[in-house]
Amino acid sequence: MRSDVTEYELSAPATLQEMLSLLAAEPGKYTPIAGGTELMVALGVGRLQSRSLLSLQHFQELRFLREEDGHVVIGANTTFTDLRRSALIAEHLPLLAQSASWTGAIANQNRGTLGGNIVNASPAADNPPVLLVYGASITLISASGMRTLDYNDFHLGYKKTQLRADELVHSVRIPLAYQGYRQYIRKVGTRNALAISKIALAGIARTEGTRIAEIRLGAASLTDRPIRCLAAEKALTGASLAADSLEATLQAGRAALAMEAKPIDDIRSTARYRSAVAENLLEEFLRSLAE
């Protein structure tokens, strides 16, 4: 049932500092709202628990995208449209441009933010697997200061993250270190781009001759959270793509990925289907490396 909007409070603190002080004074009382493309849907179907919201959408100091000592730093309020319009992202981090272009349709991309996608922490979210393969770090801000974590350590479980109730995501930072890497991403959904994915795989790899020198894989919907597929990476590092060993490499990759897949069954798909499709996507990526 639709919620009664008069039961909800929303205000827009004048400054980021003021917002952080409010969060620190009563941790857990307030829910931050950025583009609202998750929270307003929850409101619509009567599932928005928090009655007190604070808007951070107007903080321009969280909406930026800049190059800094060989890294790109992206503010939490950056929208998917901002990401798609950035020449820096298009040139250096094409997988992020691609995942942004899949995060709902244009109207959704104009509002939805990278910070909201990360904190909502859906296992099916489109952008976290890309941040994982690109080796991102994440900076959190609170009244007591900033801390930076390896993004790989941020997601703890189903919709559970390291974010404390008094913190906001400030930015993510990605090394500009992937020139010469082969890059791959594919999302499988019901209505391709617009639908929430049933499964998605992102990968980057560096080859030396016919050998895989380095490979990183990130997946959505393969477990209860966005993950790096470390077992498959390990099985494939150093593996040969030469014609006479390709089949063995594909088998090793598929088997390792199957071991770490613990997909959930939900309304969008079954675990068996997800696992099988993820293996097929990995095979597609590996075959493209062999070409």
């Binding site: 409070e9 205000s11 827009a12 493309t37 849907v41 349709a105 244009i106 109207a107 509002r111 781009a193």
Partner: protein
């Protein structure tokens, strides 16, 4: 209640509303502009689309307070001096509108599309209108209306 002010179709507006009230309801109930439609109420259909600071957004997902200080354009603001905008004219002539529920959103999505790509390819049209669902036309007539509007280049000189 919060006081929220914005520029709507070129006119300054001020409303006193619950801050979490959906912009869609503010437009339809408080400002009596019923051109903006509600389909799904969940961001999936685009019937409620408006332009906010020139960008297409779904008004069912925007709390009133976040419209503060913005520039909004609804379907009522697309025509000028009682004359249909060329995009509207093309939808009318090419059968791009049947029951009309999706039409305001389709027209605003087309507006943003042609702003960005004055000569869109079929792929760009499909992406630009990808968040707008239509239960009547089967889409082909809508795409043809958009192509026709692009050929007339309604936004040239803007």
């Amino acid at each position: 209640m919060s006081k929220v002010q914005f520029l709507l179709n070129g006119q300054q507006q001020s409303v006193e509303v619950p801050p979490m009230k959906r912009l869609l309801d503010v437009l339809r109930e408080d400002l009596r502009l019923t051109g903006t439609k509600e389909g799904c109420g969940e961001g999936e259909c685009g019937a409620c689309a408006v332009l906010m600071n020139g960008e297409l957004v779904n008004s069912c997902l925007i709390p009133a307070l976040q419209a503060e200080g913005t520039r909004l354009c609804t379907i009522e603001g697309v025509s000028t001096d009682g004359h249909l905008h060329p995009i509207q004219q093309c939808f009318l002539e090419r059968g791009g509108a049947q029951c009309g529920i999706c039409t305001p959103g389709m027209i605003l999505a087309t507006h943003q599309l042609l702003d960005k790509y004055p000569n869109p390819t079929m792929e760009q049209i499909q992406e630009g209108l990808g968040g707008n669902l239509c239960r009547c036309t089967g889409y082909m007539r809508i795409f043809e209306s958009v192509q026709e509007a692009a050929a007339l280049n309604p936004l040239a000189g803007k």
